[in-house]
Symmetry: C2
Subunit: 454 residues, 2 copies
């Protein structure tokens, strides 16, 4: 019997996160103060984040210790299994060898607790009482609810209205872990009221929800804010995924030619790929790392690289990133976690330097991929994860056409147990292609008034 | 850092199921033909089940080989982890050591695929094209959908209407694996039409859904029926749980004083406890094995031991079991998997012989236990599983009162990702106590006209 899962013991959970900033050939440009246009210092982030996280945000140390308290909570689901996808390989009749790292075994069902736990921990250590955040599909919000509950913190979640209505049970999950959840845009913040005044039926977006959560955080001294992706420290925490995966690939006596992950703000992609990119940057490997984004929100494949806000209202510093413009409201696709206008700073720099690749998939293709996977591997993937699977299938088919056996590794970042309405819509023929026209992208970018990058 | 999970490798998946029939001091009475009152032979079951399963049903061999094809699919989620519940121990401030076997890591999220996979396999081997079944909360129906899909069989599921309405996403899950799902009672069968004529608003029950699935199976030569609990072969397949748990407890250097599992038809309880009962029967241990049932459906604690039908209409043979009467319709509690009027044959005999114990819990107590667990261990338990947790908490509190440290092992048979409406009802104060009065039980049993057992 061929082994299907490659497992690690708890003692093999890495004790350090990998900080790719130490190894980047070109460091990213600094964030700017939108008022002065000058680079901001770490202190500008102090109203939002505890100092320990700000230090990680700007650190260029290669390895950063994982506190024992965090590793102890990681053992609730980590190390996560690495699967050889025998079923999918057979279904595709491909010579490719396909592996996936399965992050859906966490209590909230995705990779998000990898950063929610350390974020809650550092906030607790610095005396914070409450954390506010945004959530799209609910993966991040539920992860933070779980983490806050463990460290005795209150948690207030602004959930994109589209997902709030589509995925009511995500809200109950957050309640079960003690969090308060509000649909965004809400009447609780000025940002929310402003959007509602202009668009009373707004389905919301991650950008809007971030504006609300940030506003709610800065209004109290003992409240801070937490972000589930985009920022450097978030990506840092997720590198536990790729580090484990390297150990597991070594145990399997294999090494990927291609590494694939879905792309929203970048934490999922960074988590799996950065440790492999380290091997590339050290000249040891030449692994293709591919980010999979929705055709309805194609910042990497069709956006511009320039300074932009992280939120819709414009409350954050300006970040150098691939963006569709901070006022862009993505189509209401079910992959709520990918409905974000911009890409994280480091990933943007990597793409600009041609160190990674990006592809996009339209919505029906994504769900077809999800169904193929569910029927061949058993696990029903979250719609976000199904984007990565669509890329895997495309690459595996290429292997078949070319008659070559490549090794493909992807991040199955979460299960779809809370996304069944999406599959219901698919079975009822309601999944539409929301690919953007050139004119739509041009119109969105025309609204950008932030500094261009030469 | 103390290890939280005790893991096994895939090569440690047992290659035999344990058949407790070989070791029972008193063999159960035979099933009877309801028409003649005479014991039935295996051939009476042939319209419903493939011969391989009928042989297992009546076998008295101690060990039965697990086919390689089945073990290969087991590796998709097995071996399942055994957790030391440090979080729960701390929350309860108990000297007890608490462990749980977590079966929720399977694709469908419960222990049910352990038997769904071999049942689909043996049907496929004997040329069956389609399997019908019933499902309560949807755990069994989704497990069988998953299993049938892997062996290329059609699957037709009759889902108790109460659960069909409460858990719509379970239906979509079954559809995702290619099954057809109908609410029961339905208009598709005579049994369903009969119930609907009398009770147009019937919430359904497992007994009714079994009648429908059995009727649908016998109406076609290439269609068979599958049951998710109660019968001997189902319990047999589930013993993989307890066998793995013994290996894992040995690795932990520990052995339980008390083994606890929720009780619906008995497969969950049997799966964990039978391998430990073998140790008891061999005189090696003296482990208390406790079945946890709902106070609204207390066949073990308040039912009678006599011959009764397995279904509501009376289509099955008569089985010797603890029962509340086959026409009993349990209150609409959220633990749909426990809403069954009777107990499996072997478990009934074990209880009659005082080799196991049973307790019941009322509904609010069960959800309080579920919340305590979700907040201390992260995993949100299915309402069925929360019944077992309620017993664990009661025993752990007893340890604290008595100042003794006992080792408790329980079966966390499934996660609650598809049961969030139940938790919503709990938060909204809608979880009611449905404990039966003596008069209600007397009235239900008065309708029984099946043979008494001396």
């Amino acid at each position: 019997m061929k082994a299907r899962k490659i497992l690690l013991s708890e003692s093999e959970i890495p004790d350090k996160w990998y900080n790719i900033m130490a190894d980047l050939p070109n460091k990213p440009l600094p964030p700017l103060d939108p008022g002065t246009g000058e680079p901001i210092g770490p202190e500008a982030l102090a109203p939002l984040f505890p100092m320990a996280l700000i230090e990680q945000e700007v650190s260029t140390e290669r390895w950063i210790d994982i506190p024992d308290e965090v590793r102890n909570i990681y053992t609730m689901w980590r190390p996560t299994p690495l699967y050889r996808a025998y079923g999918l390989e057979k279904a595709l009749d491909t010579p490719a060898k396909i592996y996936y790292k399965y992050e859906g075994v966490s209590p909230s069902g995705s990779h998000k607790p990898n950063t929610a736990v350390p974020q809650a921990y550092y906030n607790m250590k610095e005396g914070v009482k409450k954390i506010t955040t945004e959530t799209g599909a609910g993966q991040w919000g539920s992860a933070l609810s779980f983490a806050c509950q463990h460290f005795g913190l209150e948690c207030e979640v602004y959930m994109v209205r589209l997902s709030y209505d589509d995925k009511p049970y995500r809200k109950i999950m957050m309640n079960t872990w003690g969090a308060d959840v509000y649909p965004s845009p809400s009447n609780r913040t000025e940002a929310g009221r402003k959007i509602l005044a202009e668009h009373p039926d707004s389905p919301g977006s991650l950008g809007i929800a971030i504006s609300e959560a940030v506003e709610a955080a800065v209004s109290s001294e003992t409240t801070k804010y937490a972000l589930g992706s985009v920022l450097n420290h978030v990506k840092l925490h997720q590198t536990i995924i790729g580090q484990e995966a390297i150990l597991q690939m070594e145990k399997a006596g294999d090494m990927p030619d291609i590494v694939i992950a879905p792309f929203g703000g970048g934490s999922n992609f960074a988590g799996l790929s950065f440790p492999f990119l380290r091997l590339n940057l050290e000249g040891k490997t030449n692994i293709r790392c591919i980010a999979s984004e929705p055709a309805s929100c194609p910042k990497l494949t069709r956006g511009v690289f320039r300074y932009d806000f992280g939120d819709t209202i414009g409350m954050t510093p300006l970040f150098p990133m691939y963006t569709l413009g901070h006022t862009f409201v993505p189509a209401p696709i079910h992959a709520g976690g990918l409905r974000y206008h911009g890409a994280g700073i480091i990933v943007s720099q990597l793409l600009r330097d041609d160190l990674i690749e990006a592809v996009s998939h339209n919505n029906p293709e994504v769900f077809e991929a999800g169904i193929i996977f569910a029927r061949s591997e058993g696990i029903i993937p979250a719609p976000e994860a199904a984007h990565g699977i669509a890329t895997v299938i495309a690459e595996a088919k290429k292997c078949k056409e070319e008659g070559v056996s490549k090794t493909i590794l992807f991040n199955l970042c979460g299960h779809g147990n809370f996304d069944m309405k999406a599959y219901q819509d698919y079975f009822e023929g309601k999944i539409e292609d929301h690919e953007l026209t050139d004119a739509e992208i041009k119109a969105s970018l025309a609204e950008l008034s932030t500094p261009e990058i030469p």
